[in-house]
């Protein structure tokens, strides 16, 4: 966590600089089915040369919801899933625990649920990668992170997008990898902007990361 304000300020400025490039790039693939692109990229055929990264990014603000009993139950469930995964030494067992956790949908109206699911998905993806299953890693996140789907403006989204990029890269889906990484970077750029906005212009982008 970046707690020192000057550091955060510089981080924000750095990402703001690349934001321009990332924003521009995100408009490039408003056409075509991104999933089709990704599938084509896997095949070592002539069409793979045409596969293009889909860097579209749709976001929505993440605002913590008012705690409810249902929300607490879900948050406790996810925390328990992580704890059990932490204790499991076997990667297969870890993956199973995380996959089970991901299967449970968060209750309606619990904004944290979406973020927690992304974190779970990212961790599951990374666990699959660690156990040498890039395709399973990719499958763990690819639907959740479809470019047409809106993602919460939160570091969990950036984490999941980067994990998907890693999984796609490991499974030789370069177009999906590049698109995912680009979206992750843009997400972080937007996060920096968001922090700057919340901190106020005069206060040079201080505060905590979300």
């Amino acid at each position: 966590v970046i707690a020192v304000r000057p550091r955060l300020a510089l981080f924000a400025i750095a990402f703001a600089a690349i934001g321009v490039a990332a924003c521009s790039s995100s408009t490039v693939d408003d056409a075509g089915d991104p999933r089709t692109d990704a599938v084509e990229a896997k095949a070592p055929t002539e069409s793979s040369a045409d596969a293009r990264p889909d860097a579209r990014l749709v976001t929505h603000a993440f605002e913590p919801s008012t705690p409810t009993e249902a929300g607490l139950a879900y948050v406790e469930f996810v925390a328990d899933v992580h704890e059990r995964a932490d204790l499991a030494e076997d990667l297969d067992v870890q993956a199973e625990i995380l996959a089970d956790g991901l299967d449970r949908a968060p209750p309606e109206g619990v904004a944290e649920g979406e973020v927690l699911q992304l974190e779970l998905g990212a961790r599951l993806c990374e666990t699959h990668l660690e156990r040498g299953s890039p395709q399973a890693a990719r499958d763990a996140l690819v639907d959740m992170l479809d470019p047409q789907r809106s993602l919460p403006l939160d570091r969990a989204s950036a984490h999941a997008l980067t994990a998907l990029g890693d999984a796609a890269k490991a499974s030789d889906d370069d177009a999906l990898a590049a698109g995912s990484y680009a979206r992750a970077v843009r997400m972080m750029s937007l996060l920096a902007d968001d922090l700057a906005e919340k901190a106020g212009v005069g206060d040079v982008r201080g505060g905590e990361t979300p």
Partner: protein, 201 residues
């Protein structure tokens, strides 16, 4: 390579160092000092050229403090970064340095980001301005080259560096879930659990 060639190269390197130090306005170095400098450079796998690079770092650091605005300073650092990216592993650029006055981690992360953004632009920008048809298809799209592996690596490094900068690591998901649990419990007046890590992270 003969002994003579090696000696000649060494003399040339020493002479190069001497010239660069002089250009930097440093007092003339003795032969022994030059040998030490050259040895140090060799130990770190550098050519003599980075001595000038270090000098430039010094210049820039002074200039940044004295005259350059943030954007100019960042451009200068980006120029320097472009010279080091070949020899410095990406991980090293985000090594936390406690106590560093201005916080170099985000600066270096930003530099990695800027460098990688160039790759990003090359990958996805070429057909940006092409019109799209009614069905969303891009009209007149030229075949796009496959993603360059080096550019992909750059993007990957950029994303990873960014994650580190926002505090994401191997254990952050677990820590965050515990923290949320603690916050929910506190808000609802539920007795806190015995987990000592709750509330941290």
């Amino acid at each position: 390579v003969t002994e003579h060639d090696t000696q000649t190269d060494r003399q040339r390197a020493l002479e190069e160092l001497r010239r660069e130090l002089e250009a930097m306005g440093e007092p003339a170095a003795t032969d022994a000092e030059l040998e030490v400098l050259l040895g140090h450079a060799s130990d770190h796998g550098y050519e003599p050229e980075p001595v000038a690079f270090v000098g430039r770092l010094v210049d820039i650091s002074h200039a940044e403090a004295a005259t350059l605005d943030e954007v100019s300073a960042r451009r200068s650092w980006a120029a320097v970064e472009s010279r080091t990216v070949r020899s410095v592993p990406a991980e090293a650029t985000v090594e936390p340095r406690e106590g560093a006055g201005r916080g170099w981690v985000p600066v270096l992360v930003g530099l990695v980001a800027v460098a990688a953004a160039v790759g990003l632009a090359i990958i996805v920008l070429p057909n940006d301005t092409e019109p799209t048809g009614a069905g969303g298809e891009v009209a007149g799209r030229e075949p796009t080259p496959a993603v360059d592996p080096e550019q992909l690596e750059a993007l990957s490094a950029q994303a990873r560096a960014g994650l580190l900068a926002v505090g994401v690591d191997d254990t952050s998901a677990s820590r965050r879930a515990r923290k949320m649990r603690a916050q929910y419990r506190e808000a609802l007046g539920v007795e806190p659990g015995a987990d000592p890590e709750e509330g941290a992270g």
